[in-house]
Assembly symmetry: C2
Homo-oligomer: 333 residues x 2
DNA sequence: ATGAAAGCGCTAACAG
DNA sequence: CTGTTAGCGCTTTCAT
């Protein structure tokens, strides 16, 4: 392996000079610079980042921790973060807590031992104060608020947009299906409900399903089927599902009862996954601004790494409803 | 920050001893060990992995490089690799070449500067000999063969399985749609075709579409539509699509022509994505053994890191057809 | 069984 | 503008 020492010798300068040339230090004569660069190239020298990290007290690595990478939303978010970090010359070390709080702590401790310059985390459930307040390195939390920097995507706003869309299409018999206990689920419902209440309209059904975002979990299908056993499936003409997966289950159940989407009933999902884009019918869905989220998270983090203020801060991002076939037809009753 | 030095002082031993205790060196008296551990805990000492890496000449990091993370298959593979690596105490640094060869090289060079202990890579297109042969650290290639270690998933076998399935259902008028130029596409087709040829059956249609695995790309939809303009859509009763996305387009186009799947025509996809699991109808699809792939890749790599043989090696994994609604009915003509 | 000492390859004052 | 020097925090012979 070629070391800086060897370059220095070949170029008849000190290691310090080589180091300066490589880090574009201003006080270097053009001549020395080109001489050094000549030898750097000639010898094929590549700096050892581990040594740089130790000496420079800076790794240029950020740790990214997800609550659950099997959720496709997070998988694409992760890609976006990697791309964004790369622009700033940062590498990403990845952690997946797989919905287990214990892992969450372990992974964060691992990040610390690695001396990552900062952490981006999507916490599991309600962020544990003990864990998150005690983190003494730059941190940005996604989706959940902590005492550090935070980027939130307003689920309430998502619900409101869907409600407005349903209202425009003239629907008054509407239902929601999704989790009620989780914060995100609750907020979606809040927004959705409040918008209808402005017009004195009450939700005709609120079905609870606290399922995880995995394809194998069929709970929501059973729940909606069960509901249709005792209720006329055609009565509610517009369903808001808390995820695309659940929306797919709703459509499937409706189909089982010979109800067509969107001809008879319309359905809206959430997350704008592949499924929404390619299902038949394609699914209207609320899209989170993934790229924007990644950009904000990375730049916010790097600002803090570079020593900007360290106070609590919250950025609110808004999701956007993407209308597709599944809500493409109004009923105008 | 608590350093090893401080622990050593507190415990009245040398740093070497602390180091030995922490790395479970055998020649340490029980008494010293517990004394040292007492102070380690008391002071909350956490080893600095950057320093360990520099001194120990080993980072316990593996670099993982994908050709294109927007492909959902790779996103889940990545999660599996992260989980697997964690079991061995390794962290993963992630790279995404985004289908650009130039990035591929840059990222690999970045990995080298980071002194990763090994690299797992899914190369873009045909692996560039210059790039891949010259990598002088342990490496495992996924899906494509290089002169290093390789794990291949036989696409040919996937095609064969689909063909067998179609044959069992009595289908003789069958078509393929997918890329012909890429290796994987070609192999799928080879396997599919050869199985039918055993029975003297020729494929009735082979449609080329070299699309990327992104939801936005509608090319395959146009291609199949175009085909149906000049061919009776009901004539081919079984389609093999090279991906779930393309399969979805086929089904959509058939629906447009009032052909129902699977009642009139059956369709099989590839990759076993979320889409396949949740579409309506659910989609039969060929699943790659992601977990197995991750396990093999990581253990193969770590074996090489730990100095096992360094010869070229190839592991062949087989995909598995998962039958769902879209091919659930035979025609028995 | 433990300590002393020599690095790992680089950065960053401090001097000149 | 460049060189000298002192580390960064740990591992690992080589002694004892």
């Amino acid at each position: 392996m070629v070391t800086m020492e060897e370059v220095a010798k070949a170029a008849h300068v000190s290691r310090a000079t080589v180091s300066r040339v490589l880090s574009n230090h201003p006080s270097i004569k053009m001549e020395t610079r080109s001489n050094v660069m000549y030898w750097v190239k000639k010898l094929g020298y590549e700096p050892n980042q581990v040594a740089q990290s130790l000496a420079g007290n800076r790794t240029n690595i950020i740790g990214v921790l997800f609550s659950d990478l099997s959720n496709p939303l997070y998988a694409s978010l992760m890609a976006a973060i990697v791309h964004e970090a790369e622009k700033y010359g940062y590498n990403v070390i990845l952690g997946d807590a797989q919905r287990e709080k214990a892992r969450e702590v372990n992974i964060i401790n691992g990040f610390k031992r690695r001396k990552v310059d900062g952490i981006i985390v999507r916490p599991i459930g309600t962020p544990n104060k003990k864990v998150y307040s005690g983190i003494n390195i730059p941190m940005v939390s996604l989706f959940k608020q902590t005492e550090k920097k935070n980027i939130i995507i307003s689920s309430e706003m998502g619900g409101i947009q869907v409600a407005k869309h349903f209202l425009e299409l003239g629907h008054k018999n509407v239902g929601y299906i999704g989790p009620l206990k989780s914060l995100a689920g609750n907020n979606k419902l809040q927004g959705f409900r409040s918008e209808f209440e402005k017009y004195g309209i009450k939700l005709k059904a609120v079905l609870e399903c606290n399922q995880h975002e995995t394809a194998e979990n069929q709970k929501s299908f059973e729940i909606i089927n069960q509901y249709f056993e005792t209720h006329n499936p055609a009565k509610i003409t517009a369903w808001f599902a808390h995820s695309d997966l659940v929306a797919s289950d709703v459509i499937r159940s409706l189909a089982k009862h010979d109800i067509q989407v969107p001809r008879d009933v319309i359905v809206c999902g959430y997350n704008n996954t592949l499924l929404a884009k390619k299902m038949i019918p394609t699914l209207s869905s609320v899209a989170s601004p993934i790229e924007e989220l990644a950009e904000n998270a990375v730049s916010m983090l790097i600002n803090e790494i570079n020593g900007s203020n360290e106070e609590t801060e919250v950025i609110d991002l808004y999701p956007r409803l993407i209308v597709r076939e599944s809500t493409s037809k109004g009923l105008y009753k």
